[in-house]
């Protein structure tokens, strides 16, 4: 088990955003959190990353408790998580190589190892020729690949993805879904993916967690969740 989340809750100004959520994610799993805007899915993801601390509950990553009842025990930089943000957050003043090298340098990875890892990951995302290009000069799809490479080059225990494809047109969205699947399988990485798009969830997940009103409403395989959602829509109509 890579991630274990126990009864985690979070409120803002007395409004409950996350209400007593528990979830475990196993190694190599692709878990997709599916829910409408404002259901708390991004807050949940940011709690795992360490940018938000839950008021109650415990989160453990790779056997280490990272946060317990509001107390942060391990800072984001030491949690060994990678994250792809909705707006990608590529550093505009650094070129592709510098974007990828930043984290490795911070972790004092030796130069030879650093070069090797950057070279390998750029090959995997097919962006070797863009090493010296600045993010502003890349297309949307290329930026997406670099954001993914930046997270993967750190060899994280878990990759968090916050609706990374939501701003792309449908063709590019479909293409990058395939790329993500290919990379995930090649690198055997554990993935926690957040989206509001059912198609995206069904095509990427090995397990889907349906969230609503700050709570988990259903957890299951693609087939189970698909049936649950269909039943739900029938009941509503």
């Amino acid at each position: 088990m890579i991630v274990k989340i126990d009864n985690v809750s979070k409120s803002y100004n007395k409004t409950s955003i996350i209400n007593s959520i528990s979830l475990t994610i196993d190694k190599g799993e692709r878990v997709v959190i599916l829910g409408p805007s404002g259901c708390g899915k991004t807050t949940f993801l940011r709690m795992v990353a360490g940018f938000i601390h839950p008021d109650k509950g415990r989160i453990a990553i790779d056997g280490f408790t990272v946060v317990n009842n509001g107390k942060c025990l391990i800072e984001p930089e030491n949690r060994q998580v990678g994250m792809v943000f909705q707006d990608l957050a590529l550093w505009p003043h650094m070129n592709v190589y510098e974007n990828l090298a930043f984290g490795l340098k911070a972790k004092k990875v030796p130069k030879i190892e650093r070069e090797k890892r950057i070279g390998t990951i750029l090959e995997k995302v097919q962006m070797v020729h863009f090493k010296n290009t600045f993010p502003g000069n890349l297309s949307g799809g290329q930026q997406q690949r670099i954001a993914l490479a930046r997270a993967l080059v750190m060899q994280p225990k878990i990759l968090l993805m916050d609706e990374p494809l939501s701003n792309l047109d449908i063709d590019l969205n479909l293409l990058l879904r395939k790329e993500i699947l290919r990379l995930q399988e090649e690198l055997a990485i554990t993935m926690l993916y957040v989206t509001h798009d059912r198609d995206e969830a069904f095509s990427l997940a090995t397990r889907i967690v349906v969230m609503g009103g700050g709570e988990i409403q259903k957890t299951g395989t693609v087939k189970e969740v698909s049936e649950y959602l269909s039943k739900l829509s029938r009941e509503c109509s």
Binding site: A49, F51, E75, P76, E77, R79, V81, G82, M83, F85, Q86, D87, A89, L90, W91, P92, H93, F102, G103, L104, A106, K107, R150, A151, M154
Partner: protein, 531 residues
């Protein structure tokens, strides 16, 4: 059509009131005895002293810029991005020196470190001589300029930090600790803002004449004033003013060409700013900041307060300057109103790009703002001191023209920022139902922009009230303002009376600020209740 005419009138007013005097001054400096000649400039630059003054000006401006950036950027980060206790109060404390006329701060330090100052009284004459040596000359002038202009770097750092997309820092935080995130991500992203702040500090230091002349450090900005007021050599004063104008122009052109290209467009994020927990270092930073706030703000104001602490001193101060106090308040109020009116239309022009020359009008306003007050003052005299225009030259109008010339950029930029928050569709909706320009102006734009109008008025009021450079040059007889009265009384009046006058100046500057805070709070609560 009426909209175009209104906007053109605003641009023409800026040209006639602001740019024409500077051009007139420049053209006149090229004529000697009616013939075209560079004699004024030859005389000026043949003198070795002028080169020393120019070098002094650059050294002072460069050192002030460097120190304000080294101090101001970390302070801006501490006040906006960390969990430092009382950071709002600290921000206010550090901004106070910017609002007070800088020469008042110089005077306060003189009362503290002068030969017969508080330090000499407490620690003995020898220490007093040492501190006095420090104060009079380069180190003292540098210190006062740093304490006056430090808030500009702090405020601009805070403003730019607010615009940084928090995701950029979070992405870095996944692998690095905060010091590295700040060094490698946050500071490089706000670099254009830091450069701009440095540029403003450099230009303002270059043009400052109150502090260097009070603390006897010879710089170029004082030269034109001396040539004009001491020797009444108008040609030499004009020639001495031109190099500062040219330097300002070169710096601004550099900013337009170089800095604008380098500016990184960051996304305006709606999310709250990422806050850095200071942890164990919190106590250290708190003590460091409180010490700095005490030295830069509390100490000089405290000294003035102690020095003036007697009823007879305040009585005499009021008797000697009540007319100047009333004039100051009146002129600053009228000046601020003119600045808001002109700034409103120029800000609209800039933000809505209403016609092709929007940026040219903005460039003129910024150039005039960056020019030293003494240069604008000489320009105004050069243009309006004729028999035909004596009704302007010999009246309050010349002071108001000076305020408009120098400070229009403030109103313009505040209003442009305000208009950028009002969706174009608001005005377009009114236009589509047949509302003309003036109807849209009074029923849509002004109501929506009321907060910006109040802020622009107040900023204009403060800058007009504290102005010394222009008013000192152009005020007609019996029209002196309080800063001018203090400056002229400084040499031959009892210290406690001058200290009392300085305290009065500080109080009348802060009263409207407090009023604005109350008004904005009231408006905020009213808006909240509407929602």
């Amino acid at each position: 059509m009426t909209k175009k005419i209104t906007l053109w009138i605003a641009v023409l007013l800026l040209i006639v009131i602001g740019l024409a005097p500077v051009l007139s001054m420049f053209i006149k400096s090229l004529f000697v005895d009616g013939a075209l000649s560079l004699k004024n400039y030859q005389l000026l630059f043949q003198a070795k002293r002028e080169w020393i003054l120019l070098s002094n000006s650059f050294t002072l401006a460069g050192a002030t810029t460097l120190i304000t950036i080294l101090l101001g950027v970390p302070l801006g980060i501490l006040f906006s991005k960390t969990d430092l206790p009382l950071k709002k109060l600290f921000t206010i404390l550090f901004v106070i020196p910017l609002i007070i006329p800088p020469y008042i701060l110089a005077l306060a330090w003189f009362y503290l470190c002068g030969r017969s100052g508080v330090v000499a009284t407490v620690f003995g004459e020898k220490i007093g001589i040492f501190t006095s040596h420090f104060l009079f000359g380069f180190p003292g002038t540098l210190f006062v300029m740093v304490s006056t202009l430090l808030p500009i770097v702090i405020i601009m750092t805070m403003t730019y930090l607010r615009m940084v997309n928090p995701r950029l820092e979070e992405a870095a935080k996944l692998s690095a600790r905060w010091p590295l995130v700040l060094k490698s991500v946050t500071i490089p992203v706000i670099k254009p803002g830091i450069f701009l702040a440095g540029l403003i500090v450099f230009i303002l230091t270059l043009g400052e004449f109150g502090v260097p002349s009070s603390l006897r450090f010879d710089v170029f900005a004082v030269e034109s004033f001396i040539q004009f007021s001491a020797f009444y050599n108008f040609n030499a004063a004009t020639a001495a003013a031109i190099p500062l104008g040219v330097i300002t122009l070169i710096i601004l052109m550099g900013e337009r060409i170089f800095l604008r290209k380098k500016t990184i467009q960051f996304r305006l994020a709606r999310e709250a700013m990422t806050i850095i927990p200071l942890g164990k270092t919190k106590q250290f930073f708190f003590i460091a900041v409180i010490t700095l706030a005490f030295i830069l703000t509390a100490l000089p104001i405290g000294i003035l307060l102690i020095k003036s602490f007697s009823l007879p001193a305040y009585n005499e101060a009021f008797t000697r300057s009540i007319d100047s106090i009333i004039r100051s308040l009146l002129y600053a109020s009228i000046g601020a109103t003119c600045l808001v009116a002109l700034g409103f239309f120029l800000g609209y022009l800039l933000e809505r790009k209403a016609f092709r020359f929007s940026y040219a009008a903005d460039s003129i306003a910024i150039f005039l703002f960056a020019l030293p007050g003494t240069v604008i003052g000489i320009g105004l005299i050069s243009l309006w001191n004729t028999q035909a225009t004596n009704f302007i030259y010999a009246s309050i109008a010349i002071i108001l023209f000076g305020y408009i010339a120098q400070y229009t950029a403030l109103g313009e930029r505040i209003m442009a920022a305000t208009f950028s928050q009002i969706p174009h569709s608001m005005e377009e909706a009114a236009q589509s139902v047949g509302a003309g320009w003036f109807r849209r102006l009074f029923y849509i734009l002004i109501p929506f922009a009321k907060r910006g109008i109040i802020a622009a008025w107040l900023v204009g009021f403060i800058f007009c009230l504290r102005d010394l450079g222009i008013t000192m040059m152009v005020y007609p007889p019996a029209h002196d303002t309080l800063p001018v009265r203090i400056f002229t009384l400084m040499a031959n009046s009892p210290e406690e009376v001058i200290a009392a006058l300085c305290m009065i100046m500080i109080v009348i500057t802060f009263l409207p600020l407090s009023m604005l805070a109350l008004v904005l709070k009231y408006m905020g609560s009213k808006d909240d209740s509407k929602n």
